[in-house]
């Protein structure tokens, strides 16, 4: 049930955020989740409740990059989350309390909010030698994760490490590191891989949970489809160059300055699923391919072992030249052909996507070569 307009305004005033600001945030979330606009009121009401839902954030074998990524979020502003939307009661990197007082804060949540709180996990969990490779307050990460995640309403694993062990698990996996799903089986879990996770997506999952009381639709890896359902190559702003056979062949060359395709420099975009090209990073400022470096497929399974060497060209990406059907490689991954066909179609019918180079560049380029 939606609260009346009066209640909503009152709740918003109480929470201290202006209505304009919260509507802006909720609109962004509705868009990220690809929800129809009619859900806006429901989303807005869900994030404006006077009694705030409790969140705890656990850090294990991590680099704190996923925490930092969240602190760089503008959707929503971190200050708003901390003060107004959620009661964020445990997070080592930013919480005021330390030591016994920090332990007490976590213990209170697990006991008094049992089954109601959300937990975010960052970093892998070491299982070798009884878990001694990560201890907090004298307890192992495994011990803490088991207790806190099993008593939570849902667990959100952020970053590659919390998902499948990430870098820490890569060969030779010195500490027996695994992700949360493997360390604590049977919990309600959603995975938000990436190195780091993109905070826009994680905020959208939180908002989805607050609004509908459940996690969004996921794929076979428990990753939300709205963020991990499409291949980067198919959404890439440089895709037109790939189709036309215009490639960077040496760092800093003419094609590199013109923003051509990075496939020959080792870009893993054709094997990567993530919404970087649309969500982008740091307030929609940029993303790695726009900054001139290939994608490393950081949201793909066991990517450190399976996608390195990062500068070697993918051996068999089909489709050079405009006559070849786009999106074939993506088909093999998730069957997401729509974006590829769209980018491809735009070029065929003569529209200019924003990545298209100048006419001179197109003319100056010799006919695309067939490779492989």
């Amino acid at each position: 049930m939606l609260p009346s307009q009066m209640d909503l305004t009152g709740a918003l005033q109480e929470s201290g955020i202006s209505r304009r600001k919260i509507l802006k945030f909720c609109s962004a979330m509705v868009a990220t989740l690809a929800l129809p606009d009619r859900y806006l009121a429901q989303v807005t009401a869900a994030v404006s409740k006077p009694k705030k839902p409790t969140l705890v954030w656990l850090q294990f074998q991590d680099c704190t990059g996923c925490s930092e990524s969240m602190l760089r979020s503008s959707s929503p502003d971190v200050a708003d989350v901390v003060l107004d939307i959620l009661s964020w009661e445990y997070h080592e990197v930013v919480m005021a309390a330390s030591g016994k007082q920090a332990d007490a804060a976590l213990e209170r949540v697990v006991k008094e909010e049992k089954g109601k709180y959300l937990v975010i996990v960052e970093g892998s969990i070491p299982t070798a030698e009884g878990g001694i490779y990560c201890t907090i307050g004298g307890r192992t990460a495994l011990d803490i994760a088991t207790e806190v995640c099993k008593n939570a309403a849902a667990t959100i694993a952020v970053g590659a490490c919390a998902w499948d062990g990430g870098l820490v698990r890569s060969t030779p996996n010195p500490t027996g590191a695994v992700g949360v799903g493997e360390a604590v089986p049977g919990i309600k879990l959603i995975n938000m891989p990436g190195c780091p996770h993109n905070p826009v997506n994680t905020a959208a999952v939180l908002v989805h949970y607050l609004t509908f009381g459940d996690l969004p639709a996921v794929d076979q890896y428990n990753r939300p489809l709205f963020a991990y359902g499409r291949v980067i190559h198919d959404q890439c702003e440089r895709r037109a160059h790939f189709d036309a056979g215009r490639f960077v062949t040496e760092w800093g060359d003419d094609g590199h300055r013109k923003g051509w395709c990075l496939y020959k420099m080792g870009c893993k975009g054709p094997q990567a699923t993530f919404n970087c090209p649309t969500a982008m990073w740091n307030d929609h400022t940029s993303w790695p391919i726009r900054a001139g470096h290939g994608c490393i497929a950081c949201a793909s399974p066991r990517f450190w072992d399976t996608k390195s060497p990062f500068y070697d060209r993918l051996p068999s990406v089909p489709g050079f030249g405009v006559e070849v059907t786009a999106g074939q490689i993506g088909l093999g991954l998730v069957g997401a052909t729509i974006a590829g066909v769209t980018a491809h179609g735009l070029i065929n019918i003569g529209l200019r996507p924003r990545t298209r180079p100048s006419e001179e560049a197109v003319e100056a380029k010799p006919a695309p070569k067939k490779e492989n």
Partner: protein
């Protein structure tokens, strides 16, 4: 004598545990323990050295990019690659911005709550707070209405009984002595800084694609292609204007908010110029030049070593004199733990011998941490902002000398006050001020180069591994926000044979060595007063003054990794 344990130490990167022995109301002895281990250097073995930076960068996401930079420099040193000036300048902008953002975040979000009582801000008079703020700065957000708004937000939070990140803290502790008005001003700026830092770090997204973990480093240069006339070049005039706006905003925030806040808060806590003194030995590898990394004479932060607080002599730094001990660390050397090893010879075999979890106390007479104990000429050293300011001051670097002299004059105090907990905070603020000016200059230099047609960003001579010799090794270094960072790489054929990182927090947070010499944290805690043993706020003050980063500090090498296999390239 009572044993105090603080674990976890919050508001740092990583997992740090402090055990301290109390005598009366002061600390008699202390032990610093890193309680997490990943083994990233083990994982790096046998991989392509050109991509080592992508892996090494993940050593830390707070000091993101610093390990990427040290790593590409190590490989460039091994392969004898000089990068073009533009690449050096872009790296300076990225690293300098990291320092600015990191130090502001440290002051407000990681350290301020040790000095600022959030709950006390509720008792402040917003009008008086506004007068105070206006008296120390021209920052525009300083009206009584503004401070009243902040106060109302904090009041709503406290009244809701859901204190969020401020729950269970030491509010009301007798060691908090700021007037309510100063507390309110600091809380307001805590929130402003939270907003500012995420806006400013977009500079890394422009030049690196994202932050944390920007993705534009290359062995031989940067992937940020320059062209004034290309709309899709990473550095063009449009993006230069974005960089200009961001660095100008940063300089303003630092000059109008951060520095005035440090100057306003410090006099209340002058006592802390007496505590947290520590080792008195300071090490700075030096960094920041537009020229070659092989010419330390051009570094903005001078290279050198100061022993025993003696500012009259800056000793030259010799990389061969770095060693690491493991006699109190959970590793073993196959030929015995009684000697230190240079990173080139670094052999490390993790071997946990601590108590079985869950445990109450560590056995500090034996091995008690995952950090090793680095030494320079056999001596424990402090690294970081204070070390840079001490070495720079002693070396007479003009920017640093002017900044330090200005501070000492304002305090009417001798340089000796720098050797303290508060001295570390002051040194961090001073170098932020110095760096802000240089980052602005580097953006202009980049713009000038580009518009004069000087667009080279990458040296391709050694990109192809077939151009490399049979074997080589290199030392890459960077003065990261937390201090002297070194990566040592050993390349054989086209893959990494050995990789070692000796990082700032290993220097500062490491344990005792074979001679029983304490690490910098341990030494700095001696004689620190503790008013309430169950709320050891004072321990947090001194430990946080170093800005610990434990993920960085723990490392290991050795064991078998996956061989670098060349995929089938068309």
């Amino acid at each position: 004598m009572a044993r105090i344990v603080v674990d976890p130490i919050a508001r740092i990167e990583g997992h740090l545990r402090i055990e301290a022995q109390l005598e009366g109301n002061g600390i008699k002895d202390a032990w610093s323990s890193g309680t997490m281990f990943r083994g990233i250097e083990m994982i790096l073995k046998d991989r392509d050295p050109r991509e080592a930076w992508i892996w090494a960068q993940r050593i830390c996401g707070v000091c993101t990019m610093v390990h990427a930079l040290a790593s590409v420099r190590a490989v460039e040193d091994a392969l004898q690659i000089e990068v073009p000036e533009n690449a050096q300048v872009v790296r300076n902008i990225i690293a300098g911005s990291q320092l600015l953002q990191d130090h502001v975040v440290h002051f407000y979000h990681l350290h301020a709550l040790d000095w600022v009582d959030v709950v006390s801000a509720l008792r402040a008079d917003p009008g008086k707070t506004a007068s105070l703020a206006q008296s120390i700065s021209n920052y525009e957000k300083s009206s009584p209405t503004y401070f009243k708004g902040i106060q109302d937000r904090v009041k709503a939070l406290v009244d809701s009984k859901q204190l969020s990140l401020f729950t269970q803290a030491y509010w009301g502790h007798p060691a908090y002595i700021l007037p309510p008005e100063v507390n309110l001003m600091a809380v307001a700026h805590y929130l402003e800084a939270l907003e500012w830092q995420k806006d400013f770090i977009r500079i890394h997204a422009v030049l690196g694609g994202k932050n944390p973990h920007p993705q534009t480093f290359l062995v031989g240069g940067m992937s940020t292609a320059l062209d004034p006339n290309e709309p899709f070049a990473v550095v063009n005039n449009e993006n230069i204007n974005i960089l200009r706006r961001l660095v100008a905003g940063a300089k303003k925030f630092i000059e109008q908010v951060y520095i005035p806040d440090v100057v306003a808060i410090a006099p209340f806590y002058k006592e802390w110029f007496k505590y947290g003194e520590g080792l008195g030995n300071f090490l700075c590898y030096g960094d920041y030049t537009n020229g070659s990394m092989k010419d330390p004479s051009k570094f903005l932060f001078p290279r050198g070593v100061v022993f025993n607080r003696d500012l009259s002599t800056v000793h030259p730094f010799d990389p061969a004199q770095v060693t690491e001990f493991v006699n109190h660390s959970w590793y073993e050397y196959k030929d015995g733990d009684d000697k230190g090893k240079h990173p080139w010879e670094g052999q490390t075999h993790p071997k946990y011998t601590g108590p079985k979890p869950p445990y109450e106390f560590l056995d500090v007479d034996k091995k008690y941490t995952w950090l090793k104990a680095p030494r320079y000429r056999g001596k424990p050293m402090e690294v970081g902002p204070l070390a840079r300011m001490v070495v720079g001051y002693a070396a007479g670097q003009p920017d640093i000398k002017a900044a330090v002299d200005g501070l000492l004059k304002a305090l009417n105090a001798p340089p000796a006050v720098l050797f303290s907990t508060l001295g570390r905070i002051a040194a961090r603020a001073l170098e932020t001020q110095v760096m802000a000016k240089h980052v602005v200059d580097w953006v202009e230099l980049l713009a000038n180069n580009m518009n004069r047609g000087k667009v080279s960003i990458f040296n391709a001579a050694k990109w192809d591994p077939s151009s490399w010799g049979a074997s080589s090794r290199g030392f890459g270094f960077h003065e990261a926000p937390r201090g002297a960072l070194g990566h040592w790489v050993d390349i054989e054929g086209r893959s990494i044979k050995n990789y070692q990182a000796v990082v700032p927090t290993t220097w500062n947070g490491g344990p005792r060595d074979t001679q029983g010499q304490r690490g910098a944290y341990e030494a700095a805690l001696i004689n620190t007063p503790v008013a309430k043993a169950d709320q050891p706020l004072e321990i947090m003050r001194t430990i946080h003054s170093f800005d610990p980063c434990i993920a960085c500090a723990v490392h290991v090498v050795d064991a078998k990794g996956r061989p670098y296999t060349k995929l089938n390239i068309g």
